[in-house]
């Protein structure tokens, strides 16, 4: 299990990287974290003629949390994003999801932007970008463009990153005032890809925005339920309020997951995944609601 030969490029600046990528186009793969790419190369499931190693692009190793959201540079390792206190404050869902990505050792090297570009629907961060409605900035010799989450994931392992392009930054919008988030998944073993996972964002839906009226909006993002991360929204008039109980979450979950059509594989049947999606949605909604201003008291969702 050794990689096939390739031509290796190790640019020192982003401009150099873009120049190389322009030259090699579709014959090139970008190597950042490599935690998904290296196994593919070693198993010879892919044999790109060119590998463009961007690990020297220190200028892309940043996590910048601001009032609007969190900007994550291409070379920011999962572990760095996970540790960043500013990011966790601005958008708690990031840390909640990152804790579940593989194992700490993988997170020490894998990059968040890289996992988005890899576009694996079993990956936690794709669901996070999708549910938050974030975007990815793509750079090439021709300039930069921004692709929103809804247009970024095209299919399993297929993203909008085109030949000659480098994903340089991902943007995760900040949690709205009074919002609560949760990320729950079921995996076979600790650290495995999720059999099914749910990212939930619950926001107070009333005019005051403080949850006092009890109504909430919810957005749900799903892992391992389709070729791309699915996103569902629950209408503002969702029947949840100060007396929200298990039954109302279950109803909300049934509503939210009605159209989901996951596939079966050796680890789980489609029916089980559909079932898990409902169960986890109810639990994630309850947890996110508890963490929101509409909930009984703001506390970290599990």
């Amino acid at each position: 299990m050794k990689p096939s030969p390739f031509a290796y490029h190790r640019p020192g600046t982003v401009d150099e990287a873009l120049a190389v990528l322009a030259e090699v186009g579709g014959d090139g793969k970008v190597l950042a974290g490599g935690q998904s790419l290296l196994p593919i190369l070693s198993m010879r499931l892919a044999a790109p003629a060119h590998l463009v190693d961007v690990n020297r692009l220190a200028e892309l190793a940043y996590v910048r949390a601001g009032p609007g959201g969190v900007r994550v540079g291409a070379l920011a390792r999962h572990a760095a994003v996970e540790r960043d206190e500013g990011a966790a404050r601005v958008q708690p869902l990031l840390r909640q999801a990152l804790r579940l990505v593989a194992h700490p050792t993988i997170r020490n090297r894998g990059t968040t932007v890289g996992s988005l570009a890899h576009a694996d629907p079993s990956g936690e961060m794709t669901a996070v970008l999708a549910v938050l409605g974030g975007h990815v900035t793509l750079a090439s010799a021709a300039g930069r463009r921004r692709v929103g989450a809804a247009d970024f994931f095209l299919g399993p392992l297929e993203s909008a990153v085109g030949p000659g392009e480098l994903a340089v930054e991902a943007f995760f919008p900040a949690a709205a005032a009074g919002a609560g988030t949760a990320f729950l998944e079921v995996a076979r073993r600790h650290g495995d890809y999720a059999v099914c996972g749910v990212a939930a964002v619950v926001e107070p839906a009333d005019a005051a925005g403080d949850g006092s009226a009890g109504a909430v909006r919810a957005r749900l993002g799903y892992v391992s339920t389709g070729p791309t991360p699915s996103v569902r929204e629950l209408p503002g008039a969702a029947p949840v309020g100060p007396g929200a109980d298990a039954a109302s979450w279950a109803d909300a979950a049934a509503q939210a997951t009605a159209g989901l059509d996951p596939e079966g594989d050796i680890h789980a049947t489609a029916a089980y995944r559909r079932h898990l999606a409902r169960v986890l949605t109810a639990r994630a909604l309850a947890a996110a609601w508890s963490a929101s201003a509409a909930g009984p008291g703001r506390r970290d969702a599990a």
Partner: protein, 824 residues
């Protein structure tokens, strides 16, 4: 059942029950001695076969991507240009070589364990001879300057296959519409029946009868280190040296010598440090073990092959897969009056290891019980899948699954406590030796030597809190939680023959060399056998150095498998060390002019009991044991001809003696010795997600005398982890085309630390009367009842019969759905 007289055994045990030389107050045997091997391994100074490849050419293999196909053509034209390529070989090259060199590499690989009922045993060739019968079967061998290049060459070899629909799965095999081997009708490699009493009649006459269909999925050993072999041909000397990560150095040596038409004396096999075996590395010779030495000689250059993980999945060996049908007749107390079992065993594409696994399933199924009558029939079936050879447990997990599920079903049917039904069926302590009336895997009668099963049952119930559990389960249910408890019992025949040997030598420096013939894959042999040798000889452990699995050091051995090393080599070391001790006392007695019976050896010094000032170091005794002409150092002077001592009217070496303070001895048992154990597990299942969590795992085991309790516990823990894996996570998944769907660690789910519970152990010791040290084996104990105990616990939590293992949350969900009451 007939009663059998226990065999008289040599009384190498002193009256205190410890080994001859050991200080009664602190013998090493029985203590938790830290391991000698650790310092080296912890510093990264282990030398595994992959660490020995410096300077070698690297081999890689073109392997069949089809489960069943004719090989029409192998075209290497695109491969010859790869820089670094040294050679590519196909089957026709092997044929040519045999004609030219008198070798046998184009002949079938050996059928290692023949058996009269293996009527249609078949083995493969080192490289496919025009037919491939499983994905992964080797078709061509590439040798190159390094592994990266070798894999590049493999990619460019174009093989033209004519695929044929494969036979995958037991149902397809026994339906027999297609055959894996043209000359094996119905894909039946073997059909065997063993019986004691008339089970069908007993069942017909029984007050109650039940039938069960059971299903055990395929799994595999999967050690962290795969296979590997390095070969060096010395053309000047005409000798071949092989390093292999094998469980049998003597087996590989003999097989390679035969295949390469070399005298045995010109072939040596050395096992370096080996990263786990768990059975898969007892299989030999692998095609690679034949071809790498063959290529080394042909090329006049060292050659290595280090397996990668994908290769291990598709070309090593698997195990476990069986379908089972049980009919049981029983009385109102749950006593089993008749038990009639049929097993269908998937043996993969070839049967180099014969039918050992299903034989073990058939015989060890009985466990600690004495059914009134028992009949077991098995069919061992070919499929177009990887070969099946023993994996820790070697058929016992399957047999125990059948028996324990049956007993639980009997208890459920009668509304009786599952432990009570077991108690009603147990062999009693005063019934040993107990003859089950069957033939075991060693070809000898299945006679249990010792044990105390009722006491063991009492202990496991106490450890897990069996009697308190129903109340706990009810309380949990009231909280909406589902918890369940399972219990499973096993008996394990260990210490299988024919023999093992040991050589013990005291050097003139005082260093003690112990050589054992079998091999090591992490069991702490350098420590355990040093404990035995040190206690027997009366030396310090730090002066004892143990070598294992090196045919240069010890040439007669069988191998490490079937939980036999401690029993076999342990006793051999004890016997050999005893002979050395006796000789030392005799020589010391002469030197000190004292009766040998008045001497003891403590910390390497031979001295008079009660008068320790009269002494002679063992090192000096070693000097004296070898009468010399030339004093190679100052201490050696004592043995030279003018040093005095000795007698003028006797030859320096007596007729029945040899120079040196050393001896070899062998332990060859009359039959296996029987360890036993009982496990209990408490699980909680999530009512919504169907996830299964292990709350507690308890083990009571009996492996007779413990040489090193710390090491035995470690073996139990490791086995339990594999039991958890085999019950809840691990399954080799084949699709209908014979492709393995999960040939990686990403999808073949071996448990991490978070999946294995804390293991609570209690132990008992009923020493074996069959060997001087009273040892029974422990290597496989931990894994044997895993599937049974977890099936029982999940069933108890859910109220749904669990008849197939392993079980995943998805499968539990499906079972729940299928057992749910229909909507009104």
């Amino acid at each position: 059942m007939t009663s059998v007289e226990p065999t008289a055994h040599p009384a190498a045990l002193s009256s205190a029950g410890s080994l001859a030389g050991s200080p009664a107050d602190s013998p090493l045997v029985g203590s938790r001695v830290q391991r000698r091997e650790d310092d080296r391994l912890l510093r990264g100074r282990g030398k595994y076969v992959a660490d020995l490849v410096h300077g070698t050419l690297a081999a890689a293999f073109v392997r069949s991507p089809h489960a069943s196909a004719r090989v029409l053509d192998v075209d290497v034209t695109d491969a010859v240009d790869v820089e670094g390529l040294v050679a590519v070989y196909t089957y026709s090259d092997l044929v040519e070589a045999d004609a030219r060199d008198g070798t046998r590499v184009s002949q079938r690989l050996p059928l290692l364990v023949p058996h009269p009922d293996l009527s249609h045993g078949r083995t493969g060739y080192p490289l496919a001879d025009g037919v491939v019968r499983h994905v992964g079967e080797p078709v061509a061998m590439v040798v190159a300057t390094d592994r990266y290049v070798a894999e590049d060459v493999v990619d460019r070899v174009r093989v033209e296959y004519e695929p044929v629909p494969p036979v995958v799965g037991i149902e397809a095999a026994r339906a027999g519409e297609r055959q894996v081997h043209d000359d094996v009708p119905g894909n039946v490699a073997a059909h065997m029946v063993q019986a004691t009493g008339d089970a069908p009649a007993a069942i017909s006459a029984a007050p109650h009868v039940l039938e069960l269909d059971l299903d055990v999925e395929r799994s595999m050993s999967s050690p962290l280190e795969g296979r590997g072999v390095v070969a060096r041909w010395d053309a000047d000397d005409g000798s071949m040296r092989i390093w292999s990560a094998t469980q049998t150095s003597t087996g590989v040596r003999a097989a390679v010598a035969t295949k390469l038409a070399l005298p045995l004396a010109k072939v040596e096999c050395i096992t370096p440090d080996v990263g786990g075996g768990f059975g898969v590395k007892i299989m030999h010779p692998w095609p690679e073990e034949v071809l790498v030495p063959w290529a080394a000689r042909l090329l006049g250059h060292d050659v290595s092959w280090i397996e990668d993980r994908r290769e291990h999945f598709i070309s090593s060996a698997h195990e476990r897969r069986q379908l089972q049908h049980v009919r049981v007749g029983f009385d109102d107390d749950g006593r089993i009056l008749g038990l009639d079992v049929t097993l269908w065993h998937d043996n993969g594409a070839y049967t180099p290891y014969g039918i050992i696994v299903p034989i073990i399933s058939s015989t060890q199924l009985l466990g600690p019980y004495k059914p009134g009558a028992y009949q077991v029939e098995f069919f061992s079936l070919y499929t177009n899948t990887v070969i099946v050879t023993p994996y820790r447990g070697a058929g016992r997990p399957q047999g125990v699954f059948a028996m324990e599920r049956t007993i639980d079903a009997v208890a459920a049917e009668l509304g009786l406590d599952r432990a009570d039904v077991r108690a009603a069926n147990l062999i009693q302590p005063d019934e040993f030796p107990y003859d089950q009336g069957l033939t075991f895997q060693d070809g000898r009668p299945l006679i249990y030597d010792s044990g105390d099963y009722p006491e063991m049952l009492r202990k496991i119930k106490a450890l897990v809190g069996w009697d308190d559990f129903p109340a706990y389960r009810e309380a949990a249910r009231a909280e909406g939680r589902r918890v369940g408890i399972g219990l499973a019992c096993y008996v394990e025949g260990t210490g299988v023959g024919p023999y093992e040997g040991a050589h013990v030598q005291v050097e003139t420096s005082g260093r003690v060399n112990v050589s054992i013939g079998l091999t090591t894959q992490g069991q702490g042999h350098q420590t355990v056998f040093a404990q035995i040798a040190a206690d027997t000889l009366g030396v310090r452990m730090e002066d004892v150095y143990v070598t294992s699995g090196d045919t240069r050091r010890f040439g007669y051995a069988v191998g490490t498998f079937a939980s036999r090393a401690a029993v076999m080599s342990g006793n051999a070391v004890g016997l050999a060390a005893t002979r050395v001790r006796e000789k030392a006392l005799r020589i010391a007695g002469d030197a000190l002019e004292v009766d040998p019976g008045d001497l003891e050896i403590v910390d390497g010094v031979v001295r008079v009991v009660g008068a320790p000032a009269t002494s002679i170091p063992l090192a000096t005794v070693a000097v004296l044991s070898n009468p010399l002409r030339y004093a190679f150092d100052a201490s050696a002077a004592a043995a030279t001809q003018f040093a005095g001592g000795g007698s003028d009217d006797k030859p320096p070496i007596a007729d029945d003696d040899e120079p040196g303070l050393e001896a070899s001895d062998y332990y060859s048992p009359i039959r296996s010795t029987f360890a036993s154990g009982m496990h209990a597990a408490i699980v909680e299942t999530d009512p919504d997600t169907a996830e299964i969590r292990v709350l507690r795992y308890c083990v009571v085991h009996d492996c007779g005398t413990l040489v090193n309790p710390m090491i035995v516990e470690g073996q139990i823990h490791g086995g339990v982890a594999q039991g958890v894996g085999g019950a809840l996570y691990e399954k080799v998944e084949y699709d209908e085309n014979g492709q393995i769907l999960n040939a990686s660690f990403m999808d073949f789910l071996m448990p991490y630390a978070t999946e294995v519970p804390r293991i609570e152990t209690d132990h008992m010791e009923t020493p074996s009367p069959l060997n001087p040290l009273g040892i029974k084996g422990a290597g496989e104990a931990g894994v044997i009842p895993g599937m049974a105990v977890f099936a029982a616990a999940v069933e108890d939590a859910e109220g749904i019969p669990i008849r197939r293992m392993p079980i995943s949350p998805s499968e539990l969900f499906a079972l729940r759905e299928s057992h749910a009451p229909s909507p009104p």
